[in-house]
Subunit: 202 residues, 2 copies
C-alpha cells in the first residue's frame, strides 16, 4: 500500500474500495443477511481471500457503511448549525433540507442505515447508536434554541420533533425512486417546509 499511491493498471478502483462499493449496492438491494460474501467478492472481481485480507468480518463492511454515513451527516449538520449569524429557523430548514438531499443522493446508504442496525455485532451497534444519538442531539439543539428564542412553539417536545422528522428521512429509502417524478430538491423543500410549520409559532 505504501509503495505506489494507486496502482496505475488496476481494474478500476482499489480493491477495498471496490469491495465496499459492491457490498453497499448488494446490501441495499437484497439486504445484509441475504447477501453472501461470495456474491460480494464476485461482484468486485476478487475472491474471499482479498475480502478477509482487508476486512475482519462481513459486518465490518456494514460498520464501515454506518461510519461513512454518520461522519458525512454529522459534518454537514455541524457546518449548518454553526452559522450563528443565520436565524435559527433558517438553519433548521437548511439542515432539514440538506439531510434529505444527502440521503437521497446516497440512497443505498439510507436503505442500509435504517434496515441493518440489528445485523451489527452488539458492540458495533452500541457505537453506532452513540454516534447517532450525538447527531440527534445536535439537531434537537436547534429546536430547543428556537423555542428559547420564542420562534418555535413551546408545547412540542424537541426529542419528539427529531424522532418525527428522522422517521420520515429514514423512510425515504423505502419509497423514493430515482426515476420517479419528484426531484431530491422538491422532496427536501417540502419536508423542510412541513417540519418548519410543525414547530413554528402560528
Amino acid at each position: 500500500m505504501a509503495r505506489s499511491t494507486t496502482p496505475p493498471k488496476a481494474t478500476a478502483a482499489a480493491v477495498p474500495q471496490r469491495l465496499l462499493a459492491e457490498a453497499t449496492r448488494l446490501f441495499a438491494e437484497r439486504g445484509y443477511d441475504r447477501t453472501s460474501v461470495q456474491e460480494i467478492v464476485e461482484a468486485a472481481g476478487v475472491t474471499k481471500g482479498a475480502l478477509y485480507h482487508y476486512f475482519g468480518s462481513k459486518d465490518d463492511l456494514l460498520h464501515e457503511i454506518y461510519g461513512r454515513v454518520l461522519r458525512l451527516q454529522m459534518q454537514r449538520l455541524e457546518a449548518i448549525a454553526g452559522k450563528e449569524a443565520t436565524p435559527v429557523a433558517e438553519r433548521l430548514v437548511e439542515a432539514a433540507a440538506d439531510v434529505v438531499v444527502t440521503s437521497i443522493g446516497n440512497l443505498d446508504d439510507t436503505k442500509i442505515f435504517f434496515r441493518s442496525m440489528h445485523q451489527l455485532s452488539p458492540e458495533k451497534q452500541k457505537a453506532v447508536r452513540a454516534d447517532r444519538r450525538r447527531y440527534h442531539e445536535k439537531f434537537r439543539a436547534l429546536v430547543e434554541e428556537g423555542q428559547r428564542e420564542g420562534v418555535f412553539r413551546q408545547e412540542v417536545r424537541p426529542d419528539l420533533v427529531v424522532d418525527f422528522f428522522f422517521g420520515a428521512v429514514h423512510h425515504l429509502g423505502t419509497w423514493y425512486r430515482e426515476d420517479g417524478p419528484l426531484s431530491a430538491g422538491q422532496v427536501a423543500a417540502d419536508f423542510a417546509d412541513m417540519l418548519l410549520h410543525s414547530v413554528r409559532q402560528p
Copy 2:
C-alpha cells in the same frame, strides 16, 4: 378442527395461534432471517411437523403478520375517515393519533412491518404493497379533502404528507420503548399535532 371447538386441556392457546405469536415475538426481536423455524417451534412447544401442517412456508407466517396489521389499520382508518359529520381536520388528527396508538400497542408488528418487506416472496410482497397503497390513498384523501375545503395549505403535496407522516410512524418501532418516559397517548397527541400544524393554513 371440527370435532371440538377448542381443546379444553390445551397448553394455553391453539397451536397455530401460538406459533404465530412466538414467530411475531422472535421476528421483532432478532429479525426474520435470523430467526430459524426451529426456534419458533421450540418457543411454541411443538415441532416442525406442526408448523408445516398449518403453514406452507416460513414466509407464510410473515405474510399472516402483514395481513393482520393491514386489516386492522385499514378497518380503523375507514371507521374514522367515514365520520362525515366531523370536520376533516379533526378526522385527520384522530386518524393520525389512532395509528400511532395502535402501532405502539402492537409494537412487535410495527417493527416487523417496516423491516421485513423484502423477505416476503415477490408475489406476497406485491400483494402487501397493493394493500398498503390503498391504505395510504385513503389517508391521502383526507389531506386532499382538507385542501379542497381550504382548511389545509394548497402548496403541500398530499402524497408527500403521507410519506412524511408514515415514515415517522414506521420509525416508532425503532426508538419507542414501552418502559420509556412517554406514553403512547403522549406520542400520538404530539405526532398528530405536528401533522396538523404542518398542513393547515397558518
